[in-house]
Amino acid sequence: MDLGTVLSMILLAPLLAAGLIWMFARQRAVLAMTLSLAAAATILGLSLWLYFQLWDGTAYEVSMEWMRLGPLQLSVGFLLNDLSALMLFVVGFVGFWIHLFSVGYMNDDPARGRFFGGLSIFMFSMLGIVLADNLFMMFIFWELVGFSSYMLIGHYITTDEAAQASKKAFIVNRVGDFGFLIGIIMVYWTFGTVSLGGLQELAHHSPDSVTTAMGLLLFCGVLGKSAQMPLHVWLPDAMAGPTPISALIHAATMVAAGVYFLGRTFFLFTGEALHIISWVGVVTALCAAIWAFGQRDIKKILAYSTLSQLGYMVAGFGMGSLYGLHHGDGHGAALYYGIGASMFHLTTHAFFKALLFLGSGSVIHACHHEQDIFEMGGLYKKMPLTTLTFAAGVIAIAGVPFIGAAFFSKDAILYVAKMTNFPAFLILTGTALLTALYMGRLFVIAFLGKPNSKSAEHAHESPWTIVLPLVVLAVCSVAGGYAGLYPERLGVLVQNWVPLAHGSDHTLMLVISAVASVVGLGLAGLVYGFGSKTDRVEDKAPPVYAFAKSKFYFDEIYNAYVAKVQDRLADFVSFLDTLFISGLLVKGTAAVAGLFGIGARRVHTGSVAAYVWWFFFGLLLFGAFAGGFLDGILQK
């Protein structure tokens, strides 16, 4: 079969499932689940076939014209290369297991038809981003994932929290997408094309300042979608959605789309832009790690950890590309180090973060929707498999040497940071310690010690549909760090382009990772205590806790800005609108026409004699005009 046909089938399978669910299965939960799961299995199966048989590993590009607006040609097409193949695998693989998990997790939900339909729509939009071969197509799917994210965050429509969170996610993303769209237009303006292949050839020919501005505008979209500072505020709130959604969309795939996009357009970023991008990532990584200490909700802690890891990826892209520019050979290939560093972490993160979220989902499911970690405790006796897999996730994210996936991927990022930007290296190393500490806090409080509430006492192991994805993802979390284990077609990036430390640096990295992870996890046990009922830091050092809990007042500042500035401006504009546009322009025109109508209606009597009189006067007027009697009046 043709490669393009297979890619189309991969893309359209979830759309077909979503359409069928929308038409026939909104009230039939089992049918909806079957359709959605079948679509996910199709994606995974076809993409595996692609890697092992069909695709020869060279970049494959196909596109066709969709519409033409003057000189602007919009096309749809696929670009399959090392990067999109890896991302396709991540989305397909993690997506499938999360679909399976959802079957178990959502078994008592009354609106499963809507849920699984939304899940399929999401898979469709996400695959569109992954496969798109031009920026406009990517933008369309970019907005579509925004929509599906909105729809799925707001799944529990009866709660105010979910409604607010979905609205917030949508609006904050719009802010970023505004810059993104301007960036795309600027790209088209500068290069005359938006096709990724075409851009790669042209990218070096424009002046640096223009390219820098362009790159930063495109990065605005990444700020929104990948929840980087200062547009990170929507992601923690998005945890109001169902847990599988948090795992799939708000941890493993959609939020990583920003990082993927950076990799897809790496040739558009100049040194200056890369510096700014790396600092945004570094600051996000640090701040989010601090904020995680102020949270009691298991999903919120994981959300801040996602933010922090996304910061690592973005910083890894920025500094990896800089590293390549300084040490690599030639502009084009050198930048691949940025993709390698960020995509490796993206892949391992997708495994362990999906695992952690699904583990928290399993816990929440077992504890009757209790999400406060201080109400849990002692779960290791009740749910041994969940605890074991969750522990694998904690080890992976903390980066324990050789058994945690993040040990390899995070080390690559730390190494490029050390080589290019020493302050950032120090911050990221500190953040690695914090990561181990807050994940350890979550684990020792929620899983160890004794049960702290009735719901935790009555917890029991979840059904196989929930546990099986956990086990699979736990295996991947441990094995995902070993680049050699990736199949030949998938591993090109992680095997060749991940910047690895050599010699003394290698030892240094190993020591840093070992110390950060082990000390972090150990400290967590010492400081917080196994299964404690209250946050000991909150008891002993209230200012520290308050500092973390404050989230640096971003929400408050935004709310104040909206209430004080934006709402007033909106009121003013609305007043102008009422007065001028809808008042004078619309209603004024209508009034003039109406007045004229009233006058004209008077003339329209229906009496033939009156019409003859009008005719007669008209004739006189015409005669006078033709005879030149009116010239004196008309010329003045």
């Binding site: 009597t605 229906g606 009496s607 033939v608 004699a609 007669f616």
Partner: protein
């Protein structure tokens, strides 16, 4: 005295004025209709008079006469249609007074 072009034109204008005033002032549809025909006749008269007095020895054809025959034929058709409308009006609303016929206003 001999009868010249001016005399014909005078009669024509007179006929036209009578017809016009009739259309303006009379209320009975039948009479208005007859007045319309009168105006038509007035213009025919003017046309034939011009035609007659414009003829020369070199051009004796007087093409206006042919036109007049056409106009009379068409006027006959028009009268047939017009009278039919008036009869239909009577059948419908039992009046031919112009002041009461206002339906086309709507």
């Amino acid at each position: 005295m001999s009868i010249g072009l001016e005399d014909y034109l005078f009669v024509s204008i007179l006929l036209f004025a009578i017809g016009f005033l009739g259309v303006l002032l009379r209320k009975n549809t039948l009479i208005v209709f007859m007045c319309l025909e009168l105006m038509l006749s007035a213009s025919i008269l003017a046309l034939i008079a011009f035609s007659r007095y414009n003829s020369t020895a070199a051009n004796p054809l007087m093409e206006g006469n042919v036109f007049v025959l056409f106009i009379i034929a068409i006027a006959a058709c028009e009268v047939a249609v017009g009278l039919a409308i008036i009869v239909a009006l009577w059948r419908r609303i039992q009046t031919v007074e112009l002041g009461e016929i206002k339906e086309l206003k709507h």
